[in-house]
């Protein structure tokens, strides 16, 4: 796997497992370094060097983990959806494996958002949990992650699993959006609206803004890093199974 490859002529060629391994191997250290830097600086800045909020007190510091993890959790599902579509349409095995690799990361992020939110809710709303639409749709998202992972785990044949989980991911996405609207209809919530929008009026005050952005970058980096590592693992495992199957044949 170490010899030189011809230059890729199209973006899709990165979906070749070998090229993916080469490219991701090259990328990994940079992503790791960037992630560590962003996370450490962002969290340290946020935790040690930002003032308390006049209403929320020191709990405002939870925002530096809560918001990034929530955002990554949602976008991880989006990434799985895209990867599933690529697999179904262009049949690139690596994208199916990337979707598989993303699920546990997304689920963990969802769990982090839920846990930090719950911990934050106790002082702010006086309760760990309320059936607020945003909170609830996160719980539902968590359920989707669980079902998706369970389906991957239950099917033995790799290609069948890839196909079926892709179908589930697409149908599930539609239902996730539906659930979100159903939930908004069902109960009006406690949770604050968007505070990180581009139009500055609604944004959190500037003291919190920059460290939050850094943390966000850190979490995204963490996500990318783990996707790379886990997809590489999946590619290797896949190759190993293929080799073993071939041995069986001969």
């Amino acid at each position: 796997m170490s010899e030189r490859l011809p230059r890729p002529t199209s973006l899709w060629e990165y979906a070749n497992p070998r090229r993916f391994m080469a490219f991701s191997g090259f990328l990994l250290p940079f992503v790791a370094a960037g992630t560590v830097a962003a996370l450490v600086i962002g969290l340290v800045w946020g935790f040690f060097f930002t003032p308390d909020d006049y209403r929320q007190g020191s709990t405002v510091k939870i925002i530096y983990i809560h918001v990034p993890s929530a955002m990554v959790a949602i976008n991880a599902w989006l990434m799985m959806l895209v990867a599933s579509l690529i697999w179904l349409i262009r049949r690139h095995h690596v994208s199916a494996l990337a979707a598989k690799a993303a699920a546990p990361v997304g689920a963990t992020m969802t769990l982090i958002a839920l846990a930090t939110g719950a911990i934050w809710g106790q002082p702010m709303w006086g309760t760990w949990w309320a059936w607020d639409p945003r909170l609830t749709s996160f719980l539902v998202l968590f359920l989707f992650y669980l079902g998706y992972m369970a389906l991957w785990a239950a099917i033995e044949n790799d290609d069948t699993a890839a196909e079926l989980t892709s179908v589930l991911c697409i149908v599930g996405s539609v239902f996730a959006v539906l659930s979100r609207y159903a939930l908004v209809f069902w109960n009006q919530g406690l949770h604050q609206g968007a505070s990180l929008s581009l139009d500055k009026e609604e944004n959190v005050s500037d003291v919190f803004y920059w460290p939050l952005l850094l943390c966000l970058a850190g979490f995204v980096g963490f996500f990318v890093l783990l996707i790379l590592v886990r997809t590489r693992t999946e590619v290797r495992a896949r190759r190993m199974r293929a080799l073993q199957a071939r041995e069986r044949m001969t």
């Binding site: 497992p17 070998r18 199957a245």
Partner: protein
């Protein structure tokens, strides 16, 4: 009418098992597939029947001309023998099940629930289903498992009659059916383990 298989490659569990399979079976003849366990007989038949896609090559005519009898018979234990047959017949737009019952000597069992049949009787019911599909090409996967000698003869007769009416049949089996017809040994078509082409890695991880 002719069944033409050209340059067919079939996959199972993500691996090619057979490749370069070429044969023709013409109206009125039967082809017997032979080969050791695991060579890919079942896989080949499933590909012919259109249940899985060919990795390469072509089969003509398409699946709509084929009737496939797999290991499993697909009959419902709580329905009677004739109800089972009638169901398949009406799915295929065939009206009459009495011929099928007669050919496979199931007339006495007609009203029995299929679940109470012995292994061999169940098998006969599964085979009788082929006669109500109204299709020209019959594909059998080890049709004689758990049949006794008389029933094997009965089966051979039914196939012969089908051939006589211009049908054709492809039968995978380990035993001798007493059917005249060509024999195809699948051994020589066993797929080569792919070499370590670096280009191949991108699709099959090999």
């Amino acid at each position: 009418m002719e069944l033409i298989v050209s340059d067919l490659a079939v996959v199972r569990g993500g691996m090619r098992v057979l490749e370069g399979v070429n044969f023709r079976v013409s109206s009125g003849t039967a082809l017997v597939l032979r080969g050791p366990n695991g060579i890919g007989k079942t896989t080949l038949l499933r590909t012919l029947a259109g249940l899985q896609l060919a990795d390469e090559g072509a089969v003509a005519p398409g699946p709509e001309a084929m009737a496939y009898a797999s290991h499993a018979d697909g009959n419902k234990g709580t329905l009677s023998v004739s109800e089972n047959l009638e169901f398949w017949a009406s799915l295929h737009g065939v009206d009459d099940i009495s011929v099928a019952l007669r050919e496979f000597n199931m007339e006495a069992l007609e009203a029995r629930p299929a679940g109470s049949l012995s292994a061999g009787q169940k098998r006969r019911l599964g085979l009788a289903r082929m006669a109500v599909t109204g299709r020209r090409i019959w594909l059998f996967d080890e049709p004689t498992v758990s049949l006794d000698v008389d029933s094997v003869a009965l089966f051979a007769d039914a196939v012969r009659r089908h051939l006589g009416q211009g049908g054709l049949a492809v039968i995978a089996t380990h035993i001798d059916l007493g059917l005249e017809g060509e024999v195809l040994q699948l051994g020589p078509f066993k797929a080569e383990a792919p070499e370590d082409h670096h280009e191949d890695f991108h699709e099959a991880f090999l």
